[in-house]
Symmetry: C2
Subunit: 227 residues, 2 copies
DNA sequence: CAAAACCTTGACTGGACGGTCAAAAGTGAG
DNA sequence: CTCACTTTTGACCGTCCAGTCAAGGTTTTG
């Protein structure tokens, strides 16, 4: 009842899940391999063969555990999204605004650094037009974002942060944090080898936090938008 | 000598270009169609057939004008990147820092709104590991970014903007501006139909500019990064 | 040990797709 | 009209790939 399917399209046939020990192991191996391959090659570019290879089994064997390529994809995407949402859900109306946002941004930057594949997988899905998670975006995600934006709105009304459209603030945070995973290649090309170095994550976090958190500080002398 | 190939890998065979009137027309039709299809489906997902269809010609006919799918892709990518760079190149050391950046950000946001396909095409290329433009990123783009970052560094030294790593500032700008094109589907899913409305672009620009420009204002009471 | 259930595999099918080819259709100069 | 040329087309090839199938191997369980 727990791991069922939050992105499910066909809630009809609930497959029973008396997963044997070996099934759990193999399914996990497949999902791990799938994440890497899908993230690197995209949905179309990834082949079942490649995933199977990376999971140390034959293609036929993989298809014994999952009915189709799309099913593998759906499940790995679902896991990723779930994990991605956690720190966002954790934003609390009771905390200190800047502190809450700092924690969220930091968490997302960490995730991008530690699990760039997940970020790229999601990114890819969206760029294809979100064929599998559009419904999820319009329902559960929208609700969640609305909820968190209401909190931010309240902070603004209380003059605890600058009056910036909460939705755009969220988008800005998503944009920057995702960027470091999705455009890793470009960043490395420009910064050279230093990009992988130890201090880099801290440096990145510092810069991003400086810009965004400074950008929402409650100030009197506010920068006006163009018009 | 002009439209040759800035991303070229094989500078060897320079094809002569006494393009007839009809050739120019057809090639343009193909490139326009290709941009749309590649942006929507990705390189692997796009088929020559689909591109030809959208350009109102047969697949064979398309392949008469371009030797291969990759050649079409390369050319459309090249055009896109070229266009993308212009406003960045325009950043001048002589202008007022905040004004220069405002202009750049605004220009990029406009491009994202008017030509999201270009943004998605580029994004897709990077996420595949930049197979065709890695070299370009490491050479020409890197040089250009280094150059512009030196300008920003100077602004910082002159205390005209806050001391934020120029590279990360550039990445943040790229991230946010690209986001509105690349994640359009997600944004629309969350904001509902209002996302397409008239005021939306201005609203977006205002919010993004507020955050980033405020974030780099030269202030005494600076927000410190986590550590 | 033996039957049943579960797991694994190689060979195969059908469809999509990039690209070739040779021949037809159009175009224009003399 | 004729000849050389460019453009357009349908038929075709080889390859890749998701998914099926039937048969054999391995575990589990009584």
């Amino acid at each position: 009842m727990d791991r069922s399917s939050s992105l499910a399209t066909s809630p009809a046939l609930e497959k029973k899940k008396p997963r044997s020990r070996i099934q759990k192991l193999k399914r996990k191996a497949i999902l791990d391999a799938a994440l890497e391959v899908f993230a690197a090659e995209g949905y179309r570019g990834a082949s079942v063969e490649r995933i199977a290879e990376r999971a140390h089994m034959s293609k036929t064997n993989l298809l014994y555990y999952f009915p189709s390529k799309e099913d593998v994809y759906r499940e790995v995407l679902e896991q990723t999204v779930e994990r991605w949402l956690e720190p966002f859900e954790a934003i609390s109306p009771d905390g200190e605004p800047v502190e809450e946002l700092r924690r969220y941004i930091t968490a997302k930057l960490d995730m991008s650094a530690e699990n760039p594949e997940g970020s790229r997988l999601f990114s890819n899905e969206i760029q294809r037009g979100a064929p599998l998670i559009l419904d999820f975006l319009q329902t559960r995600l929208k609700t969640l974002v609305d909820e968190k934006c209401a909190i931010i709105r309240q902070w603004i009304d209380d003059e605890r942060i600058a009056p910036i459209d909460p939705y755009h603030l969220v988008f800005t945070i998503w944009a920057t944090t995702q960027h470091y995973a999705d455009f890793e290649v470009q960043i490395e090309a420009i910064l050279g080898p230093q990009a992988g170095k130890v201090g880099f994550r801290e440096q990145t976090a510092h810069a991003v936090l400086s810009i965004i958190l400074n950008g929402i500080r409650p100030v009197n002398s506010n920068v006006r938008g163009s018009s």
